[in-house]
Symmetry: C2
Subunit: 210 residues, 2 copies
């Protein structure tokens, strides 16, 4: 069983790359599905689960050592529960034994299969702003490039902080990934073909070792 | 004309990767050659030139603003000269119009060809220590793994500082490279073939754009 995890800077096109990679390799694809599975299993709102896992939602909780106010404890428990549930959901996916691509959710910190390829996707800040400005939601129509840049940096700061919670090694630190691809200058479709070839070579290699 | 720059963590195998990449693509290869060219042109010792360009040699100079002691000014002038000479040497190489791979020397900060691929090579600290312990120089025979790890981190800290001098964007920051490869788990020869394919795809693509 082969698993590819895709971590990505906001606006880098990492999600699209992950989806196309799964298509080209004939792998299953998980992204929002993981959020939905956790939300269903724990009977929680999917948006809340996503915020907690992706944007460091728990960091905003009023954590204070020795505090025993019921509210704080309750919030912390739900957050710990969500993380434990993610581990269960990822174990479940791994037990299916089907090759898959998992985008985001710090899945790289939870998984330890032998046939595992960890990818980080980045891009220059300019090309990330370009990409985001092309895909504005209706409520973002008045967003300037400057404000979009600020939003991108904020989301990424949250991802850094969230990842610190799961592992010590640091989000976006190249040493933690097998390969880091910069999407700047590429069409995502073309790049996904190149990354698919890279993935095949990596898995051929790790298969031989087993 | 196609240029590939290879920046690398100490002990990652980046130099070997660059050399094999040049072999496989049929590109010229520059590494120590640049140091020698600068040393020859400026009538300086090659080791001194290397220290200055690679290990942040000038950072150890007693810089103090408003200081006019002849010694300090002389040291600063030589260092500025070496950097200016590197720019001239790289311009000269570019004028030859031959495809090439340039390893280290912050060449990525000096070059701005349209057909340029910037690679960063890293590895986990454990596999870097492994690699370095296999290639100990006679005077290093008594070096423990712990001491080797310290040496590796020191060389890399120097590279970070040196790179800051040439560009603001940060050594090893994935956004500054087209691709970052982690050599951990690969034979360098195998990996160089994969990276050669990646390079061909990138140059095909940038050629079409021109």
């Amino acid at each position: 069983m082969k698993i590819i995890t895709v971590s990505r800077q906001f606006g880098s096109g990492g999600r699209e790359l992950g989806r196309k990679l799964a298509e080209k390799l004939g792998f299953d694809y998980y992204d929002q599905e993981i959020i939905k599975m956790i939300a269903n299993n724990k009977e929680l709102d999917a948006d809340y689960v996503e915020k907690t896992l992706e944007e460091g939602g728990w960091q905003t909780a009023p954590l204070s050592y020795g505090c025993s106010l019921d509210g704080v404890v309750a919030v912390q428990n739900i957050q710990t529960d969500i993380i434990a549930e993610e581990q269960r959901v990822l174990d479940e996916i791994a037990r299916l034994g089907r090759d898959c691509v998992v985008v985001g959710r710090n899945a790289d910190a939870f998984l330890c299969q032998e046939q595992l390829l960890k990818i980080f996707v980045c891009a220059t800040i300019n090309s990330r702003v370009d990409r985001c400005m092309k895909h504005l939601r209706p409520e973002e129509k008045n967003l300037t490039r400057k404000k979009m840049e600020r939003k991108i940096r904020k989301v990424d700061r949250n991802r850094v902080r969230t990842a610190e919670f799961f592992s010590e090694s640091g989000w976006g630190n190249p040493e933690n990934y097998n390969v880091v691809v910069n999407t700047t200058g590429w069409e995502i479709d073309e790049l996904s073909s190149v990354v698919a070839e890279f993935s095949n070579k990596w898995f051929d290699k790790t298969e031989k070792k087993q």
